[in-house]
Amino acid sequence: MMSAPNLLELHNISKSFGALTALRDLSFHIGPSEVVGLLGDNGAGKSTTVNLISGIHKPTSGHLSVDGKKTQFTCRSDSADAGIETIYQNTALVDSLSITRNIFMGRERTDAFGFLKQAEMRDIAMEVLEKAVHISGIDSPDKLVGDLSGGQKQAVAIARAVFFKRRVLLLDEPTSALSVRETEALLAQVLKLKAEGVSSVLVTHNLYHAYQVCDRFVIMSHGTKVFDVQKADTSISQLTEYVVLT
């Protein structure tokens, strides 16, 4: 076992929606500076897991631990306070607003009266775009997000998470809307963040993308974990088998 406490642990979590049991006795953890692939076919319970970790759903039984301490997320800001940011496929940005305004959405820098400190936010956004993300084509933080490509949008969402000092990024199907080049850039970004101490969870059913960057794989089926393995101890064909056959 590791010496440092795990950033996030799920302990025996079950979640039912009425008669439907979405998750059954699910346990896994996310360690520091680790990229975990959360894999599974459609309906395996990945989305419910993501929503649970983001604080949108509450577990029916079981609990979460952050840094080894038992905790409960009742809303999204609880998970944000714990340093967890979920990056959804396309939903986290507002197309009709600029990059700057999206980065500071809900966390605006304002004066005592609530008026925006536009110049300050713009400068920070510029810096974030230059340092944290290098996706080509974004030349100004004043650009409308609606004018960006899928990969550029995701880069903005990641830049936002990084700027607000998140320690765990939950990437929900991050590559499904991206071009090949954008996918490569995104995966490189995930590795770069790992080197800086930010853990990521790739929630996906694209095994190849996951295999490229993940240190460990958690495979889900029918609402529970069926396999949890280090990359060194497995192969892509074994992973495929678990996803398809369980």
Binding site: C75, T91, L93, D95, L97, G106, S140
Partner: protein, 335 residues
Amino acid sequence: MTDTAVPKSRTKKQSLLKQIMTMPAGAILLVFATLQIVCIAGALAFPDDFRYLSPQNLTILMKAIPVLGCLALGAGILMIAGEFDLSIGSVYTLTAVLMASLVDGGMSAFIAAPLGILLGVMIGLLNGTITLRFGLPSFIVTLGGLLFWRGAVLLYNGAVQVRFDPEPAFSSLFAGTLFGINAAFIWIVLFVIGFYLLLHRHKLGNHLFATGGNPAAATAIGINTDRVKMIAFAIAGGMAAVAGIIATARVGSVQPGQGAGLELQAIAACVIGGLSLRGGRGSVIGIFLGVMLIHTITDVLLLLRAPGFYLDMFIATLIVVAAAFNHLIERRGAA
């Protein structure tokens, strides 16, 4: 706004015209400026037949714009948040009738007017509560409000005109003149500045755009979209009452039927001003230019002694063209 040292961009430098067209409210600004130039040129060329620049005409314009302006600002904020309020025309009449009859009963207008605004805000909050609690389209809820409050005016007051006879200080505050400029027009300019600061320079404005532009994203980032929408509903109701006060102070009486159709004109002004019917897009300057454009066209047609139905046809065309144009811009943005 200045782009300094833009690194190699693959997009070509656009022409000035295209740049203006893609600015928020750029197209409407262009149309408005062109119309003004034509009108002013016409007025200078035919000063006797086309009295556009006569002091009387300018006064009429300045008096007419604030009422629709207040309604449109309120309706516009709500549209940006992704909801509609069709009841504002009825609320405008109801609150004015309430204020006028309270003053008639001996109350100071300085107390009656805030009470009217309070009633407007309450009705806005009621619209919001019903819409959000039951997950209904606000279009339907406020259509109900339109009919309900229109009936309530007749129930409360009957179909008779109410005299409004406030203390002189109140009249001069809302219907007087300052440096030759109509007080109501000064009010609307102040409101436009205030709404500009709120919508484009304040945190709440950012949340309004997010709520209307992408509710899922707004919620995901931790914005309480219901609260934001409630504030917008309250503002729409309150501004309807303010419009009622300004109109009543000017005319000195309230007609129970006076608000009919104003809600549609207000929404029309917003659409002409570049607001998206789906929410999340628009600007305060666009709303104001939309209002000015409607009134300028009305005025020109009156000066030309054109029959009233031309006005309706003109505005109708303008709305459809504006909506089509906005849709094009939106699709370009979404691509």
